[in-house]
Symmetry: C3
Subunit: 211 residues, 3 copies
């Protein structure tokens, strides 16, 4: 059906970096839940590739990790890393910042790939948000912990900013590399500000007048 | 792979109506859980397009909302509507009846689209049921509330009746419009009767003799 | 996109057997939760076809049960069987052993189908594991019970062994039938040993030194 309309070369090293970071968060959740290594590897894979898998299915592209021989071993490598490492070394602020970087990178890459496959800007932005956030949502739902969507952290918004800036720049045919870098930095900056100042969006505030 | 075997023109306005109704139920759940606006918009989208997305992936069609520029903004519009409106205005019987209409319309449209893509009648009926119900199931699972499948409401059955009548009429080559209207009305009537008389199917009743 | 690179004829009777076994486990969970028949049928279908559906979507193959008119009625037949039968007859050791056979058969078939569609060995093994385990995971998540991944049973490992042996044999171009039988027996043996001796993998054991 759909074919790539531009010869878009995704920055694959960035893609693998994002996958590795999310695989790490999946393995860490399995460690916190005291699972065995096989379950930990499964969580690493599910979290690392979940968002990109949904994106590829929806835009009609071949699922990236089924066709790329490096992605799955990378996820398993992160599981091994967590398995052999005492947990607290990873559970510090560094992980939160790495996760912010992964979220921003994945949101940009997801939007860019969707645009490259001929998807219109608004759905392409949504594909970027999905790529950045779905892996973590699947991880939390399968583990039975409250999903990141339900926590009051500013998490989807940075992904939306990164994907939106990417779609904006590519719609105006700015240079791809510059667009991607600026978009990712923009999303990362918002997530960083949210972490630093504990920013939150206001919640639905209409009183329940009937009960 | 699969291509539409009949030049089926789906009644797109009905499709958008169903999407809007389900997006509304997603936004309302987010309001009840006191989420922020971004999460509310995410829930509206997920609930509005979830069923149709699974259907399109399974029958090999391009995912409708990724290719249609109007669907996502419509879902966001429903989120805005819920955000600016006191909650109780929507949480009355009107919503239940609108949901019943959406369920019936989506079940018919899902079955009709699957048949149009050359799917056999039984799987096509299942595609109709899926289109009508999957959005709500995904919404409930991600939110961590008991899914509609687990409640004892008569909900899947009306969808099955609507999709079944649609497949029956189209298999006998009755006029498409008449078939769709009768099938949707049939499903809606059963859901309405279930709501009015609080109808339920009997549950599994064999005694647990061993424990 | 992808097309089968070898004229692989999957042993369809084995495939239907695995589907039937998993459909049975889905219906039984619905019975334990005292659901009505429609929900039971939905669970039977979801559990029976869930793993194969994800596999087919990811490797780019037509979804098997949407194109095969026998799979869905088979799942419903299993739901009928559970509905008319007192529960304890099925909840004995026989079911556990049948489930072990289904897991091994599905893991082999999933890996073989992925290899037949040109997927590299490591992702193909993962497709086998997914085919064997995803139906049960979806069943548990939708039902709101702890998923099989979270229990401490040796369950993913036998699937990995079966899929791994299958990929190994097919990579060395051994006879397909012999490879499949040996791989399935190997996976079944490990699952059987785990059931008989209550084998478990060690869990993540690093002390939480920081709290």
């Amino acid at each position: 059906m759909a074919v790539p309309v531009t010869p878009l070369v995704l920055p694959q090293s960035l893609d693998l970096l994002g996958t590795a970071i999310f695989a790490l968060t999946g393995a860490l959740l399995a460690a916190r839940l005291r699972q065995d290594f096989v379950t930990m590897a499964f969580f690493a894979l599910m979290t690392g590739v979940g968002g990109g898998t949904l994106r590829d299915l929806m835009i009609g592209a071949p699922v990236f990790w089924v066709r790329d021989p490096w992605v799955a071993p990378l996820c398993f490598g992160m599981a091994v890393l967590v398995w052999v490492t005492p947990r607290q070394r990873w559970e510090n602020e560094l992980l939160l910042w790495a996760d912010a970087a992964g979220l921003a990178a994945f949101a940009v890459l997801g939007a860019a790939k969707a645009l490259g496959w001929g998807v219109a800007p608004v759905p392409a932005i949504l594909m970027g948000i999905l790529t950045g956030s779905a892996g973590g949502i699947i991880r939390d739902v399968v583990a039975g912990v409250p999903s990141i969507l339900m926590r009051r952290e500013l998490y989807i918004t940075p992904a939306a900013v990164a994907a939106g800036l990417c779609a904006l720049g590519m719609s105006f045919h700015l240079a791809n590399e510059a667009t991607w870098i600026i978009a990712a930095l923009g999303g990362f900056a918002i997530r960083a500000a949210a972490l630093y100042w504990n920013l939150r969006l206001p919640t639905y505030a209409h009183a329940d007048k009937e009960g």
